[in-house]
């Protein structure tokens, strides 16, 4: 073998090409892509919850109102008002003019009788007013 002969480096030697085996790449788990089917589920769930909440509110409100209206109806039925029937006070006896004199004293006595007459008439007119204002009450 020639010593000057440069020995070929192993690098220059043709290297047989070897195909390295493809290692599987460790992949990080991807979040599942939301499919349209999963979105519908959430929407339905949300709607259901809202519906339940609304129904509960409506139910509670209805119960509250109905119990209140029952109470008020009972109160109303037990508190039927009546227009008081006019009471009649026994009529006072009517004084009359008895003296025939025309003196001052006699006229003063007459004036007192007339005062009493007018007071009694006032009372009678009030009784008439009461009897007309007694609109027959509806007893249901």
């Amino acid at each position: 073998m020639d010593p000057n002969q440069v020995q070929a480096s192993p690098a220059s030697q043709p290297v047989p090409v070897q195909s390295a085996p493809v290692q599987p790449v460790a992949q990080t788990p991807q979040p599942p892509i939301e499919t349209p089917k999963g979105g519908n589920k959430k929407l339905i769930l949300t709607l259901a919850v809202v519906l339940v909440a609304v129904l509960s509110l409506v139910g509670a409100g209805t119960y509250y109102l109905s119990s209140n209206s029952n109470n008020s109806a009972q109160t109303q039925s037990s508190q039927n008002t009546f227009t008081p029937t006019p009471t009649i006070t026994s009529a006072p006896s009517e004084p009359e003019i008895t003296s025939k004199g025309t003196s001052d004293n006699s006229l003063e006595e007459d004036a007192k009788v007339l005062d009493q007459n007018i007071n009694n008439l006032n009372s009678d007119v009030s009784s008439v007013d009461s009897s007309f204002s007694d609109q027959q009450t509806d007893l249901n």
């Binding site: 008439l121 009678d124 007119v125």
Partner: protein, 265 residues
Amino acid sequence: MKIFSFILACILLLSVVSISYAQGAIKRDNLRSGSTSAQRQAIQAQNQTERMENLRERGYKEIDRRIASLEKLIDRLSQMKRLSSEQLEDYKSQIQENIDGLTALRAKIEADTDLTTLQTDVKSIVSGYRIYAFFMQYIHLNAAYDRAYTVYNNMNTVYGKLNTRIEEAKTNGQDVSELTTLLSDMNAKLNDAKTLLDAGLAELSGLSASGYPDNKSKLTDGRSKLKTIHQDLKAAHIDGRKIINELRQLNKQSSDTTPTETPAI
């Protein structure tokens, strides 16, 4: 995403609270009304009994009040001067019939066992006894007219006395012009009252309980006339009072100016 979760949490919280409230309300309702059908029925029966008792008491109260008023009307009738004895007996008889009817109705209400019958009977206190309404108005009106007539007669008597006194004063040379004006006004008021008294009494005389409520307009007109009569008589009374006071003043002035006679020595 966070906002959505927050809203969702809020809705859930709200729904839980609402459901809890509703359940609580229903529980309370159940406790109140009784959880079993038997309890509910017992409570319903108790409610109906209470309602009937309440209605019965109201019926008693109205009937008793009407009977008391009608009995007092009979007393009032007895004091009326212008009624004939036949009219008086006729009215008393009708009022007594009304009282008897109400007394019988009271007994029926006491014996009623079902709510529907009781309600009908209590209603009939008003619907079946309209005669009560008629008599309350009619007798009161007649009583007031009766009184007004007496007042008119008394005032007319006093008017005559005042006229005599004014003529005397005039003869004595006193100034009676103001008194004459007052007396004239008193006379006019008395005449107006008399005209309305006659018309009102004529209007009332033909009315009967059987014609009620068709004759209610005549009762109302009678009441309207009475109000005017009342005003006329009050005005005449004021005139009379003024004249009496003026006459006293004139008399006093006259006695003050008359020279006292010196006793003869």
